[in-house]
């Protein structure tokens, strides 16, 4: 039965093609704004999660400096170190997870003859822990000899360092020289652990000999599968901060979750801004539906007088809003994929995160929201049409 009202709704859209198309365009823009922002946000979260997932199983212990803290490591002040005894305690309580003692400092150095002085972080780590740190090399090999080092890819690229290059450490090479044995693959942003992209990793013994240091700047705990980072953090804190707070413990997984949650909030916010355009589109739908009702008052009066029920009149206008909503939203959904592709390619330099469940959800949300907005905005005009007094409607010219 509803087919005749469906047919009338279709024909009315066809008769007012330009007006209906403009209303659809509004919905298309609204859906694209919402869905493409969602796609971009999801892609950003995926990209960040991907680049940080390696550190998701790391707990980092720093000497307590009386507050502050935050992302990244960095060297602590000289009198704030983790002693070997404390390291042994940590090592014992976190087992079977591996505790890696890390020495670090910021050092002046020079690459090649006549080069400018540069600064970089220098880590001193026992090479036996290289595997536990998940360090991947793009070229060369790990440093086993005391005079060898591996360097981060950003540092290497910026300073034109290759495997075999010699780095003079300290002012005028006063702290000796290190030969580059390998370049570490780019790691990206770091949440705890060590930040290798712009650093040099020398052996612990070279660091000891050069800087005469016995205490550690940080302890990186690589948490084994089956153990929870939060539990490891608690164990360390209980063990070392019994009386006074002497260490700060950073759970990278918890920070990753916080970061993801923050990205999620940003995505929601940006999508909500996209939603404003949908509201504008909704107003336009409301407007054309009201126009449609006003133009057809007499027709509604005739329908009602010859036996059309209120709900049937209402259905006719809801069909009209539905057709506009579904076509506009589906076209918007398809275009939002293209927009998401373009934005991801431009902003994130990659589209590999585009074809995911999260993208499908974003598009579905956009399309669904578009249809719901159209229906909601068509509801009042449809209700108004259905509740016109047939006598007044028949008199309408």
């Amino acid at each position: 039965m509803s087919s005749i009202f469906w047919e009338i709704a279709k024909r009315n859209i066809r008769v007012h093609f330009l007006r209906s198309s403009l209303a659809m365009l509004g919905i298309v823009i609204g859906v694209v704004a919402i869905a493409s922002m969602g796609i971009l946000g999801n892609s950003m979260v995926s990209q960040v999660s991907d680049s940080l997932s390696k550190v998701g199983d790391i707990v980092t212990v720093y000497p307590y400096t009386g507050g502050g803290g935050g992302f990244g490591g960095g060297s602590s002040s000289d009198n704030m170190k983790i002693t070997d005894q404390q390291f042994q305690q940590i090592k014992r309580v976190v087992a079977p997870s591996v505790a890696i003692p890390v020495l670090s400092t910021s050092e002046r150095m020079k690459v090649g003859v006549g080069g400018d002085d540069i600064f970089a972080t220098v880590y001193g780590i026992d090479p036996k822990y290289n595997q536990d740190l998940d360090l991947e090399l793009t070229s060369g090999g790990f440093n086993n000899a005391n005079s060898g080092c591996i360097v981060g890819s950003v540092f290497a690229e910026d300073n034109k360092i290759k495997v075999g290059s010699r780095i003079a450490m300290g002012t005028d090479g006063g702290k000796g020289a290190l030969r580059v044995t390998g370049i570490i693959k780019e790691q990206g942003m770091s949440l705890g652990g060590i930040s290798t992209d712009n650093a040099i990793i020398a052996t612990e013994s070279w660091f000891d000999n050069t800087y005469n240091r016995n205490d550690y700047d940080e302890i990186v705990v690589k948490v084994k599968k089956g153990q929870d980072t939060a539990d490891v953090k608690t164990i360390i804190e209980k063990q070392l901060n019994k009386r006074d707070k002497i260490v700060s413990v950073m759970d990278s997984k918890a920070m990753l979750d916080t970061l993801n949650s923050a990205f999620g909030s940003v995505t929601t916010f940006v999508t909500a801004i996209g939603g404003i355009s949908m509201i504008v589109a909704g107003v336009s739908i409301f407007n054309i539906m009201m126009m449609s009702v006003n133009e057809r008052i007499k027709e509604i009066g005739i329908m009602r007088s010859i036996g059309t029920q209120k709900k049937e009149v209402m259905s006719m206008f809801i069909y009209e809003a539905t057709i506009i909503g579904v076509i506009g939203s589906v076209v918007g959904g398809i275009l939002s994929l293209l927009a998401g592709y373009a934005i991801s390619a431009l902003m994130l330099q990659t589209t590999k995160y585009l074809f995911t469940v999260a993208t499908a959800v974003s598009v579905a949300e956009g399309v669904g929201f578009g249809i719901v907005v159209c229906l909601a905005c068509g509801l009042y005009p449809a209700w108004q049409a259905a509740n016109l007094n047939p006598i007044d409607a028949l008199r309408h010219e």
Binding site: M1, R11, I302, S305, I306, G307, Q309, K310, E312, I391
Partner: protein, 228 residues
């Protein structure tokens, strides 16, 4: 010939309609009583403002009286819900308007079968529509045209076909020739007369005496009352 063994198609008993206005109540109808039997051909005449339109709205179940009783084919319409009144209009009453009032988005067959679709709640066989259109003497080649492609007389024939499609108990016509030239109007009235001869009960509201001449009986209404 009016039937006597069945309830009247329409019965008005002391019907009044009062419109309360700030300047004072307007008594559009004041104690109107009459009866229309099956097969009758009646005209209702009266000057402007006499209450003709109000009476027509009451007869068409588009409005309800302030007091009094209205029966359509024995059914008391007082206290009927909007849904029930709409169903009554769909099944028992055929409407014919002065300005034809066909649906511009539907073709002729769809216009005629529209009330049938409302009643059956499903797709209908267009053959029934064609049959009624032939009965009102509309040329077959026009069946798939749209209303705007037809002349006034042709459109009124389509409107009559639409009113007849559900075999109503009564045809209510509001100035059916008011928008037609004399010759076409006469053609429409001859069609009405023919339909009445075949048993259709027809009530025509008009101010045109030549239209009233086609009918068997005229009810005159003046100042909301039936003039004796």
């Amino acid at each position: 010939m009016p039937a006597t063994d069945t309830p009247p198609v329409m019965l008005f008993r002391d019907v009044a309609k009062v419109y309360p206005l700030p300047a004072g109540d307007v008594h559009a109808l004041d104690g109107v009583s009459f009866q229309v039997d099956r097969g009758e051909f009646i005209s209702i005449m009266g000057p402007s403002g006499s209450g003709k339109s109000t009476l027509l709205n009451m007869m068409g179940c588009l409005d309800t009286p302030t007091s009094g009783d209205i029966y359509i084919s024995g059914t008391h319409v007082r206290d009927m819900s909007d849904t029930e009144l709409t169903r009554l209009r769909r099944d028992r009453i055929g409407f014919i308007f002065q300005y034809f009032n066909l649906f511009p988005l539907l073709n002729i067959i769809e216009n005629v079968t529209f009330p049938m679709m409302l009643k059956s709640q499903k797709e209908v066989n267009p053959e029934r529509g064609k049959e009624v259109l032939r009965a009102v003497q509309l040329e077959e080649r026009l069946f798939t045209h749209t209303p705007t492609e037809l002349s006034g007389g042709q459109q009124q024939r389509v409107a009559i076909a639409r009113a007849l499609i559900n075999n109503p108990d009564i045809l209510l016509c509001d100035e059916p020739t008011g928008n037609l030239d004399t010759k076409t109007g006469a053609g429409i009235m001859e069609l009405m007369t023919d339909l009445n001869r075949k048993g259709t009960t027809i009530i025509i509201v008009t101010h045109d005496p030549t239209v009233a001449e086609y009918t068997d009986r005229t009810i005159r209404i003046v100042d909301g009352r039936i003039a004796v």
